[in-house]
């Protein structure tokens, strides 16, 4: 018997054994680098599903939605969600378009802050109701205030006109995502938002 006949087999056995022993190190060193860093923002209906969103709104009636954030930025992020309410003619935010992505110029009614660890999800229930009245003379809906999570937010001065195409009084409840920049210590619009288009019924 010549041991050199088994040289290849021996080399393979030693190499495989070495790779097996080195696998914990290899699993840490040979990691595909993350290349996409982004934030998810979503809104869900009252059953935590993407359905049954409130649309036909009655005065004083309470509605619930769930706001969610998924952080894939690679670090624990500090977000602020600015809640705004606007009619069809007021400034709207933009996102994912070719144009400049800008927030609505309207003042924020309420800020929801969220600190979300990397690769984690944050979920927040929001209950809201509106107080408004129909102005027959001007044929418009005039808002007084809205209640969000038992906080009264002033909507005085906001009104919405009759949409002749759809025969509805529309209002938009908008949630803009702002991200805290640690180096400048300010929040910056993260170029994304979600909104609820609401029909203010006057029955």
């Amino acid at each position: 018997m010549d041991v050199r006949d088994y040289q290849v087999l021996f080399l393979v056995v030693v190499a495989v054994s070495a790779l097996l022993v080195a696998s914990p190190a290899l699993s840490r060193l040979l990691v595909w680098p993350r290349t996409e860093f982004f934030t998810e923002l979503w809104i869900l209906g009252p059953n935590h599903m993407a359905e049954d969103y409130p649309f036909n709104i009655s005065r004083g009636q309470n509605y619930t939605v769930y706001l969610g954030i998924g952080n894939h930025l690679g670090y624990c992020a500090y977000y602020s969600i600015q809640v705004k309410f606007r009619n069809e003619t007021q400034s709207a935010p933009t996102s994912f378009g070719p144009q400049n992505r800008t927030p609505s110029s309207l003042p924020s009614l309420f800020n929801v802050t969220a600190i979300v660890p990397d690769e984690s999800v944050w979920d927040y229930p929001l209950s809201f109701s509106f107080d408004y009245e129909f102005n027959e003379t001007l044929f418009e809906v005039r808002f007084y205030n809205m209640t969000m999570n038992r906080l009264t937010l002033d909507l005085g001065g906001t009104s919405t006109a009759w949409n002749t195409n759809s025969s509805k009084f529309y209002g938009n409840l908008t949630f803009e995502l702002w991200l805290f920049n640690s180096s400048t210590s300010v929040f910056r619009y993260d170029e994304r938002f979600v909104d609820l288009k609401l029909n203010m019924t006057i029955s």
């Binding site: 018997m1 010549d2 041991v3 050199r4 040289q7 021996f10 056995v13 030693v14 054994s17 070495a18 790779l19 022993v21 080195a22 696998s23 914990p24 190190a25 290899l26 840490r28 060193l29 670090y75 624990c76 500090y78 309420f110 800020n111 929801v112 802050t113 969220a114 600190i115 979300v116 660890p117 990397d118 984690s120 944050w122 906080l151 009264t152 937010l153 002033d154 805290f180 640690s182 210590s185």
Partner: protein, 166 residues
């Protein structure tokens, strides 16, 4: 009722008024304190600054490999209070704004210490994990190769020569 009765009544009334005045003066000042807009704004800004400091500590702890879910939860609760303080400030309810801001900062007492402790323990664990899994397995792999080579040389000496002699 004579003059003596009137005098007694007057004295009694004076004593009651004096006692009332003294008790009012002895009450804690904050019961009657009415926060101004500037005070409320300062309280809200202070709470915001506190949250930012704590957030920085959480980022460091996460960077060291710590699980910051619990700490983030506390910060989110503090954030809710800060949001309420802001709304109160906007509505001109300055006392309420100060109260919410105080609750917010109160909730964060000792927070940075907890974050620093988590950061340090996570750094230690990461270092140990690196030592065992990365350094250990690389050394192990080298040992397997060296042992294989020694074994091969030994086998070659023992059976290689015998084989060639046959």
């Amino acid at each position: 009722m004579g003059l003596r009765g009137l005098l007694r009544g007057f004295l009694l009334l004076t004593v009651v008024v004096l006692v009332l005045m003294l008790s009012v003066a002895a009450m804690p000042v904050r019961v009657f304190a009415v926060a101004t807009a500037d005070e409320a704004r300062a309280a809200v800004d202070g709470a915001q600054a506190q949250i930012i400091t704590c957030y920085g500590a959480v980022v460091e702890a996460e960077g060291a490999g710590g699980n910051v879910t619990e700490l983030a939860g506390v910060l989110n609760e503090a954030g809710v209070l800060l949001s309420r303080a802001r709304v109160a400030l906007e509505n001109g309810e300055y006392d309420l704004a100060v109260e919410f801001s105080s609750s917010c900062t109160g909730m964060l007492v000792g927070f940075t210490d907890r974050a620093v402790t988590l950061r340090d323990s996570a750094a230690r664990e990461r270092s140990l994990d690196f030592l065992v899994n990365v350094d250990g397995s690389i050394v192990g792999a080298v040992a397997v190769v060296v042992a294989g080579w020694i074994l091969w040389v030994h086998l070659k000496r023992k059976y290689g020569q015998a084989g060639s002699a046959v």
